[in-house]
């Protein structure tokens, strides 16, 4: 495994060059569904960080015991365990937020980012590399999620983190806070990023 990237490379790759949302197009369900306000988006990103870090570390620790044909099942069950922990934690300490996020916290189980990172990195590399990869990818996810959430919240309600930033005369673009706004914002952001990176 001489040609595997090192821990630092994995960390940097996750943030921009291989951003999970904009570059690899993974975890789209969560990206579209919880990006209508910043608080929900950041809670979601924190939950994903916790689950991804724990799942990557555990997968990396047991990587020599994994049988190839059973690995996906093992990954999913590991992830499901940590998602249950995260979900119970949110329900206990942030009850209102856990009501707002609703079924999207349990849906982290089938979030492709985590399975993809377990498969690509954690099942092949050491614990330290897997952990730094998890943190890098989570930062990339948080960055992508909050960029979309910021646009949607500011244009949709004129507020940012629940505080008013646009003048009261701003006609709220309610459509941005509704489902179509998620598709449109994400599509336009993706096009903008393609355009910027092709101009380099």
């Amino acid at each position: 495994m001489a040609d595997q990237p090192t821990a630092t490379e994995r960390f940097i790759q996750g943030i921009l060059p291989e951003n999970p949302v904009y570059r690899q197009l993974l975890g789209l369900c969560a990206t579209l569904a919880v990006s209508n306000n910043m608080k929900a988006a950041l809670t979601m990103a924190a939950s994903v960080t916790f689950v991804l870090l724990c799942a990557n570390v555990v997968t990396s620790l047991i990587r020599n015991l994994l049988k190839p044909h059973l690995r996906i099942v093992v990954f999913t069950l590991t992830i499901a365990t940590f998602v249950t922990i995260a979900d119970r934690f949110l329900a206990a300490y942030l009850y209102q937020m856990s009501k707002t996020l609703g079924p999207y916290i349990p849906l982290i189980i089938v979030n492709c980012i985590i399975i993809c990172r377990c498969e690509v990195c954690a099942s092949k590399q050491s614990v330290f590399t897997a952990a730094s990869d998890a943190i890098g990818q989570s930062l990339g996810f948080a960055l992508a999620l909050s960029s979309i959430a910021a646009i949607r919240e500011i244009l949709g309600t004129g507020m940012f983190f629940g505080l008013r930033v646009l003048p009261a005369a701003w006609p709220d673009w309610v459509i941005m806070a509704l489902p179509p706004g998620a598709f449109l914002t994400f599509g336009l952001m993706l096009a903008a990023i393609n355009w910027i990176s092709s101009n380099k």
Binding site: C29, A33, P106, V110, L184, G187
Partner: protein
Amino acid sequence: MSYLTDIFLIALGAALINNFVLYYFVGICPFVGVSRRVEMAFGMGCAVTFVMTIAAFLCWILTTFVLMPGAPLSKWVAGFFVSADVAAGIDLTILSYIVYIFVIASSVQFVEMYVRKFFPVLYSSFGVFLPLITTNCAILFACLMIMSNIVGVDNPADAWDLGRALTLAIFGGVGFIIAIVIMAGIREDLELCDIPKPFQGVAITLIVGGILAMAFMGFTGVDSGLRNAMIPM
């Protein structure tokens, strides 16, 4: 409200008003990934509907008899080990996510074996997409919705029975087929269009999805209108 009215409203709600893809954003990955050809999108939609129905059936049975607080089967088993009043309070819902994902993974495996044995042509045309249904959020989402309508309700008489659960799964799947087939039809034509370079691929698909979602928002309000029309005040 009569039972049939309820079933009809659940079916319409799952298929059109609160479409799984365009309202709840679940199942976006196949919606973007497998929507290039209409036949393939339709096949994928049917496979998802089929798996969703099986998974919903198993989830309903497991939730009602094993997982929910005071479920008969776990109460009976626990009765051998602890006193009856402790056994009556047993609550296994904390295990529900692990049980659901296990049920979904095994039903996908079962469907895969069945299709490979009896429909080899269909099997080869699915390729890698069949196992990927395991990680399709729409199926887990349907199970979670059924769970929230069994476990969280205040009045036990309002808890969903098997018929309501299966209606949600089948018509949620139909809604998924509708969305993905419309998308595939549009994308077949989009290939002939002159799209600006940065928009090519996923970006234009998402924007078209946004316009579709806007069109489906036209169904909002149908639900309450129907409810008022069907239940004499």
